[in-house]
Symmetry: C2
Subunit: 357 residues, 2 copies
DNA sequence: AACGCCGATCGAATCGATTCGACAGGCGAA
DNA sequence: TTCGCCTGTCGAATCGATTCGATCGGCGTT
């Protein structure tokens, strides 16, 4: 055989103890040689590493290490939707990128989880993790929060409703949206409609049920709605089933059918706003000449060239980074303080003064 | 305190042994009660679960379990690019979705890794995983493969060069691309250029270096190039720095500058093809009237409405699923057979007969 | 010259579960 | 009646590392 020498047959991986034995040192010393903690003579370390090489030993087993140290080196990200849906939202991807970057340089890896599957036991309940980030405008995190906090996993919520025992990273949703709406108001708009993110766990489409506003089930969506209504108290709202272009299209059609006199549409996300643009243009109207469109998020959307969307920009990567840092701080036992980022209105070419018809 | 009773103070999580003690059974029995393996009297199980509830015990510690069983319940996906870049490619997202779906229902979770960071030790080397899927048209997987195979982790490559000890999921890249090129040839095209995926680890842009073709560093890109050249042996090629619309744009500009008489451009991915469309249109030419464009992948691209791209469709979700199934099979000790999927040409409205100028 | 300290190494306990083999009854079959 | 067999339970070994405390020279101080 051309494979490296392995005394105990090939299938079995060598253990640190075997390496130590071969190097003529104790397991403790071998461990120190690998981890770098504690003083080890250069000559000894060399001997250990040589023995490891001979046995084709690839370093300490992460499983054993994590049992002993109590750390798995894994930080989980819990999302509400399945991957194909969630990743179509550039905001999610941007967040994730910030998270991955930050935890990566700290030596952690990223585990992707979905909160839905209570049946398949493989996820929240059983996966090893040192901390968890709950992502997205989740409409109901309770089950996930319950399981994880019982497991004593530090929890960081991104855009989540303030909740016991969970640290938060958020933005000034209401104020940001208010500023956007005010921009439209300043331009002269008075009849403005809005498309909201999902408002219930089932992601029901349709005109906004006033009851939802009372029951407060979807934190982010309600905050942004409140921002719109701070300026336009009577703005009609249609709920989309997700932050997707096609959802925005469907919702905007409904909005325009019910309120043909709207001069502007506000999407609670850029994708919803883009859908609204499509709906407007498919009726032969033009943006912003006939109808203005305002978005929210400001994440880069690849391949969008026809318009520069006017939108409320939030610092996505920074938000992800901050969430990751909170998790790392919690793990380091440092005090954790929730963070709120500020948004900023970015003027593109999708808003203008309404036609003075 | 309103928190559940916890004899040993609050910070510490209860252990299975403590639960067993409280229920008046042995740890072995308590374990069986939780795992469901082995026979346990209903009454006993109830007693154990009750004790667990009283101690706020959330089930066995994944770390300990995974040391003992040798399984972590984690399957890693290794990508070449950082998240923000990789996830901009709908093909990657589609693959990931298939993977997540399949391993999720099997009770596994998905760990996201990047192969680049050899420095930050937190990834390939230290993360717990039962198997790894190597993703993407990776230009050089060697380091990753080395580390992981030393760790005795079963390896599945998606679109990777055949390689020792690694099972593969692939498509008929060359044949698929040949069919696409043939379609153009049938339409009457003779002067066709192509934009390729990155060809070296540094992702260098520019006209294709013939030397690369010899050295065979980028499996997928070379296969697809070969497919084009099966039909158009002299087709000029420009290498892009990634599968991105803007990369396609840049490359297509270069291609059109150098060869103004091209009647068709073939992108090795849909995103590259979309970039090519932009490049063509920015010169005041039209697709397909002046220049035809052909893509590869056929993954859904959100918000693309202006054209229905003619493209070589590969079954992305199925590919992801298949890769996941191979991994699961390897873990189950079943024989693993590599899989090759077939592609299919989908005619959109971006190809037509060349102008008979 | 004696003391203390530091560098290097080792022994042994420990992390928290799973699992194999053993054992005690109870029940059905021969 | 007796022999297996099945069910339910328990003891003890084990997974593979980390880490605390102890040991032991050697070296610099005063």
């Amino acid at each position: 055989m051309a494979t490296p020498a392995n005394p105990s047959g090939d299938g079995a991986r060598a253990t640190l103890a075997q390496v130590a034995a071969r190097a003529g040192v104790s397991p403790s010393t071998a461990s120190l040689a690998f981890s770098g903690a504690g003083p080890v003579a250069d000559e000894t370390r060399e001997r250990v590493l040589a023995a490891a090489r001979e046995l084709d030993y690839g370093g300490p087993d992460p499983r054993a290490r994590s049992l002993r140290t109590g750390r798995s080196g894994i930080i989980a990200v819990v999302m509400e939707d399945r991957i194909r849906v969630a990743f179509r939202d550039p905001m999610v991807v941007t967040l994730l990128d910030g998270i991955a970057d930050e935890i990566g340089t700290a030596g952690y890896s990223l585990l992707l989880l979905t909160d839905s599957l209570e049946r398949a036991e493989g996820g929240l309940r059983d996966a090893p993790m040192d901390a968890a980030l709950l992502l997205g405008c989740s409409t109901d995190l309770d089950p996930a929060v319950k399981v994880l906090s019982q497991r004593q996993v530090p929890l960081i919520g991104v855009e989540a409703e303030p909740r016991l025992g969970m640290h938060l990273v958020d933005i000034d949703n209401r104020e940001g949206m208010r500023a956007g709406a005010q921009h439209l108001h300043d331009l002269g708009h008075r009849r403005v409609g809005t498309i909201t993110l999902p408002m219930d766990r089932e992601h029901t489409r349709g005109p906004l049920d006033p009851e939802w506003v009372e029951r407060s089930v979807a934190y982010t969506g309600l905050e942004r709605l409140a921002g719109v209504r701070d300026v336009f108290p009577d703005a009609p709202a249609v709920v989309a089933a997700g932050s997707l272009i096609e959802e925005g299209l469907v919702a905007a059609r409904a909005l325009l059918d019910a309120h043909p006199d709207l001069t502007a549409i506000i999407g609670q996300s850029d994708l919803l706003a883009l859908g609204a643009i499509q709906a407007i243009e498919e009726r032969g109207m033009r943006v912003p000449d006939d109808v203005s469109v305002l978005g929210f998020d400001g994440a880069r959307i690849d391949g969008l060239t026809s318009h520069r969307l006017t939108t409320v920009v939030q610092p996505g990567v920074e938000k992800g980074r901050a969430a990751a840092r909170l998790a790392l701080a919690a793990l380091a036992g440092e005090p954790v303080e929730s963070v709120v980022f500020r948004t900023e209105l970015r003027r593109g070419d999708t808003t203008a003064a309404p036609r003075t018809a």
